[in-house]
Symmetry: C4
Subunit: 257 residues, 4 copies
């Protein structure tokens, strides 16, 4: 068996597509954002990546049907004259080991380079260790020009965050992407790190859709954010006050995404 196995669902020809990556990670921000975008844009399944670097696991649907865990590539053709074709990568897991991270990322990039992608946006969460009322979007990029371009959409390039760099798929897609001649940007929504965070995902998507000239309705994501707020409030109310200790150290939370 190949270490990473690609199952093609459709054959398409894309014109200069942009790759958008959002896999599970801190606050599930990247995955929430990529999945939401895929749904709202009506992106179509293009290829499935199975791999021994993912857990040996199947999910079972409510109907009792199994599905092997995977990473999944969808596409969406451009709408209108200024539009760009898109590739969206989502999935159940990131690679389970350092080697797995490299192997999976390299394979996805290889496939996307073959489809003509020269540009990549990676979506992630950035854990602050405390509740974030209005999540900012932090950035990192492969060139100074892209840094400047992203600042125009309100992205924050902070001298201190992320201090130790980015660990995981969102950084690796940029780092390995350069070996494929791809330029790119990582957008990290601030989040507490304790809950899945649709509000942070929305902040990230607002930047991304502006940058790509897309229009997306965020009401479903906002509804989900309010639901999480309610759950968080309920847990907070049920906790004895004395138990409120200091936040866990930021180092454990901030940099995986």
């Amino acid at each position: 068996m190949d270490d990473v196995q690609v199952q093609w669902i459709e054959k398409v020809t894309l014109k200069d597509p942009i790759l958008i990556e959002g896999l599970p990670g801190v606050g599930n921000v990247g995955k929430l954002a990529a999945d939401y975008l895929r749904e709202k844009l009506g992106a179509k399944p293009l290829a499935t990546f199975y791999s021994k670097f993912l857990p040996p696991q199947v999910y079972v649907s409510e109907e009792g049907l199994i599905r092997l865990v995977s990473n999944d590539l969808s596409y969406r053709k451009a709408i209108g004259p200024g539009g760009r074709d898109l590739l969206i990568l989502g999935g159940d897991y990131q690679g389970m080991s350092p080697e797995g991270q490299y192997e999976l990322t390299e394979r996805v990039l290889n496939v996307c380079a073959g489809l003509g992608a020269k540009e990549v946006y990676t979506l992630a969460g950035f854990a602050q260790g405390h509740v974030v009322e209005k999540p900012r979007v932090l950035g990192a990029a492969t060139s100074a020009a892209r840094v400047e371009a992203m600042k125009r959409f309100g992205v924050v390039f902070s001298r201190n965050d992320p201090g130790g760099g980015l660990i995981g798929a969102s950084g690796l897609f940029l780092g390995l992407g350069r070996l494929f001649g791809m330029e790119g940007v990582c957008l990290m929504g601030e989040t507490s790190g304790y809950f899945v965070d649709p509000r942070s995902a929305e902040a990230v998507l607002k930047v991304l859709t502006q940058a790509l000239g897309l229009t997306v309705d965020f009401s479903d994501l906002e509804a989900k954010a309010k639901e999480i707020d309610r759950i968080a409030q309920r847990i907070h109310d049920s906790e004895p006050k004395a138990a409120e200790g200091p936040a866990p150290p930021r180092e454990d939370l901030g940099y995986i995404g």
Copy 2:
């Protein structure tokens, strides 16, 4: 050395065989069931799988003879006009790492596909974290038609179980099996998760034998179940009452099989 090494014991031609998998796992239900079936049907050894993904271990028999740990494939030719040829996979261990799980499962499926298998039943235990008097058989399948077919034999397809999906060989044989064009069903016998459970294995085998139109005498398995009952009772009696704490969390038990 090949990562997985196949030693053929015999060369056979099978007609549309069904693969039945039962490896060690929760309550050892799958292994108990597969081993019992192999014995009662008089299945013959066909191939042995050695692998570096299994522990570096030999067993020593009472006579002092060593045997390297392995997975083992047996076969049994159909009896009667409506019967089907069978392949039964048992073994000492599942693969020791995620990669090992994938590699071993892929290799066994590859061999079985070469023998003509297009259908697979995987047998496993499902830990409930408490004693189960009358174990139900939970199911998961690769198609809606198979879900319906199994319901007729009393298999329960629950909205909530198994919640997080299946981790291990029994799920992977179905998930990877589809990449080989195989359809299949996973049968999970409820069990406490604390003991090896011949009664749960019997429940699983009753469904399987009905589905396959086989007749098997379960008296030896029932005798074994009664023996385990006696051991469990003795342990229970010897425990001080105060020590009876709450059951361990189900998440640690339910999904590996």
Copy 3:
């Protein structure tokens, strides 16, 4: 780099050589025995095995010279008419992971099969968890004939020991050896498991040398055993009596060799 890299020191032609394996393990019994035999028989270095499955480590001699950790094969030509050529495998470590154990063992066996070896003796310790005054030698073998042959030299084939089988090189050399058509015996000297145990190594070597018709002077090994006795006694004397708790559970000690 090859996963296992063989450096030949000499080219020899051997006649039906017997492979003797003794790597570090419980009580270091196997390594002590193999190293002692190599020295006393004046065996000559034949090949060195370097591998990424060994630690990334060099030893530094008292003179300041480095040496990369390895497994090492020596040979010794037969002396006299009834004698047999010998291959002796020692080394600094066993493979560091299950995969490493398989890969290293397979490679050594491959080399030895190429040199004509069809027979293998593996030497190991068997931890009893308590002080053993007169260590017995426990056995395991690949055939009933060898079991019987070894019983004649006092080797004990116990119904209960080793219960869970053998984990590590000494078992694997027999298990994988069979795939190379080799027959063999594992000789396990009883030991406490707390100290390196030259006395147990001597017990093992006494059986082995009898079986092979060799004469070896054990006085140096006995001197070393007495030295260890003195160290053990001193530690024992310095311990407060109350601290003498029960022996650790045997399962943790008995089966790695």
Copy 4:
């Protein structure tokens, strides 16, 4: 993707170059020394090694630009008649696993052998577990002649240090280097093991530059050492006296480099 991927920045022809290795480790002595030498000699980037044996991580600069973690080879042509061409290897990490250590080291050595290197100096720290006022430089080498040569520069070849040998890149470059026909020396600066230690790096570099006939200005390194002294003093002053326990056991500190 190759396990280790080499990106060439320039093509050069070198004459009998000497390889100098300094990767992160104890007290960061090796990396500090190699980086300082590279800067002061104006060495030029030659090749970058990316690898799945390094963490899946990118660093983000203050300007927001990402850089994938790597090992990096620089070169510097000889100056003057007696000078030698140099290759300097630095990097963000050593390989993350034993296998990774072997694979990365082997690949770098392979590249350097291709460039004509037959000689290697590895730079490292040696943790003493206590503050070292005047760090000595300990040594290990591949030949007695090199041991003698290094003694002339004040390098200490101690009977007891390093006791258990060297674990990590600095040892492995010598050990594997010999398989490439390279001779070499490891220079280990004594250090506490608790801080990054520019003073120890300076001690190492003083030996190295003498041995290579180079002249390097150490004032920047000394300034850095004084800065670390101030930080250490401040931490020491702020600690309650009672908290000064015994030093941690040396075994945990001394041998990785």
